[in-house]
Symmetry: C2
Subunit: 332 residues, 2 copies
């Protein structure tokens, strides 16, 4: 559904095109749009589940542990800490704007947010629970029983409902109103000359070939190390693990650059500690370009204009366990 | 300062006594009062620090990890998980209403909230940072530099300011408006007959000797295992570790029973999984009484009326690190 048709139903098509141009529709990056068509009851349930460490074997790790909504939806670690202090294999991508991704995980192995949400719960190196036990735990908590019934209109908790609720909450985690979006929407004072110079460089140098669309990425798989091979000790081979095709080795989902100022460190191995380092490496390995220090600074200045309004909501209060709730087992 | 003198300055003393009686002043438990005289700027800074895992060596553990404000200010584990997945020595007490405690920690070794706050940050088995590094990390984050200056009216970050801010936030974590407090304040319909019977039993059996005052505890050190010795594998000896006196062995701070429905499992070793078990053990070991199942249920029903309004605030958004911020070292 075309939003403009919706908002200006009586205007002829030619007017809409002019309006679109006025809204910088010709730019290869589009503003992040507020979420539509969500179920608020399901969102509230999903928010609780997102913050609930009882979805882990230890009782310590929640979705928010590695996708911390106080910190850009990431843990700001190279790779995450999982059950038993196990080191994760890959950098935790931000959950912010993740509904805009063409698929989930770096290798795209989950089709959507709901398919993703079940993974970490049962991964022995992450939350280390089983789906069966997740259901048993939640079904033993009276507050959740009521809330699931309210959200789904029928009795019963299963893993599909759990992940549907988490996904519904995650859909709300879009970050609108970035300064760059204000500029796209016509406020030309929203960016400084340096930031605009950075955006021009970002387009003219070819960064935009992969980092485009509303999420400034997230919409394609591309090879890490296109012009020159990427050196890393991280064994992840990306998309080929899903497709089985040799041609897909080292293809990773292009990460969103929305809120990139907050989602350090960078790359699938988390080895680029700063935005400047990331821009430098991307230039050399993906574009065959060596950006000058001034150019790096300009691009970094532009990237920082992609920080949007962070999700604002009250910290959820979780319903207490009952006497029958299986206890966490952190040290078993 | 007498609140009633403040509110009714023109009433003669005799009237005040009558009013006080009307407000159940004769009861050994008093309502939790809203926080007064706090510095809102310092509170906002302290809230961020409370949620900031950069105060830990790993970058994973924040104050909120073990004193989770979604879960009654506890982690609902027997003993906490610290740096490197180390098992903590003692059950994490709730941070809710902790400003009402006569001292902090189970053994009272910290005089107040500020003295407490520095402990876990530097404890190798908890957050495992040093105070020096905590200061260095925060001083490298532009958003914090500004906020500390705003809060303290002068440049500079040190551990005293860090802990002062955390303590100021913690002072706001009082839980008012519990059903029991509504009853104390005159709403006699706030409690059921069963709950009232539980309260009467709680007083008549002697629980009230230790669990009294606004926090229903927190105001004395008492021996765990008064009538019969408490059997535990936990080596903690309580107050004697602070005073060096043999007479203080196994004396622990009486925990608050406010929100006790949410702060399971119970006792300093976290070995009582349910309220019913805790009531049963307390009866036998502290009072030499065996409560019947009905009596246990009545007391548990009363205890659940002590759940107050949980702290409600927006999840804080943390200022991002700079290029100069020391990186977390989870796996060193």
């Amino acid at each position: 559904m075309n939003i403009k048709t919706k908002r200006f139903p009586l205007l002829p098509a030619i007017t809409l095109i002019v309006l679109s141009t006025g809204l910088s529709a010709a730019e290869p990056i589009q503003p992040v749009r507020p979420v539509e068509n969500i179920d608020p009851v399901l969102v509230e349930l999903g928010k609780k589940l997102f913050f609930d460490p009882r979805l882990s074997k230890s009782g310590l790790i929640s979705c928010n542990s590695c996708h911390n909504l106080s910190m850009g939806g990431t843990d700001n670690l190279k790779t995450s800490i999982g059950h038993g202090w196990r080191q994760g294999p890959i950098n935790a991508p931000t959950v912010l704007n993740s509904s805009l991704n063409l698929a989930q995980f770096w290798d795209g192995r989950a089709a959507d947010l709901q398919a993703q949400a079940g993974g970490p719960i049962a991964n022995p190196g992450e939350m280390a629970l089983t789906h069966e036990l997740a259901v048993e735990v939640l079904a033993s908590i009276p507050g959740y029983v009521t809330e699931f019934e309210l959200a789904f209109g029928a009795d019963g908790i299963d893993i599909d409902r759990i992940t549907a609720a988490i996904a519904e909450f995650e859909k709300t985690l879009v970050t609108t109103n970035a300064r760059f979006d204000q500029w796209l929407l016509g406020n030309k004072a929203a960016l400084t000359d340096t930031e605009l110079a950075g955006y021009t460089l970002f387009k003219d140098s070819g960064c935009i070939a992969c980092h485009n669309g509303p999420a400034v990425g997230g919409n394609s798989f591309r090879k890490m190390g296109l012009v020159a091979p990427y050196q890393t000790t991280n064994p992840a081979e990306g998309r080929s693990a899903v497709t089985g095709k040799d041609a897909d080795r080292f293809l990773f989902k292009v990460p969103t650059l929305r809120n990139v100022e907050m989602t350090y460190p960078y790359f699938h191995d988390g080895e680029a500690a700063t935005l400047t380092a990331a821009v430098d490496i991307m230039g050399r390995l993906q574009l065959g370009k060596e950006f000058s220090e001034e150019e790096q600074a300009q691009i970094v200045a532009f990237l920082k204009t992609l920080t949007g309004d962070q999700p604002r909501f009250q910290l959820p209060i979780l319903p207490p366990s009952s006497d029958h709730t299986p206890a966490p087992k952190p040290f078993d």
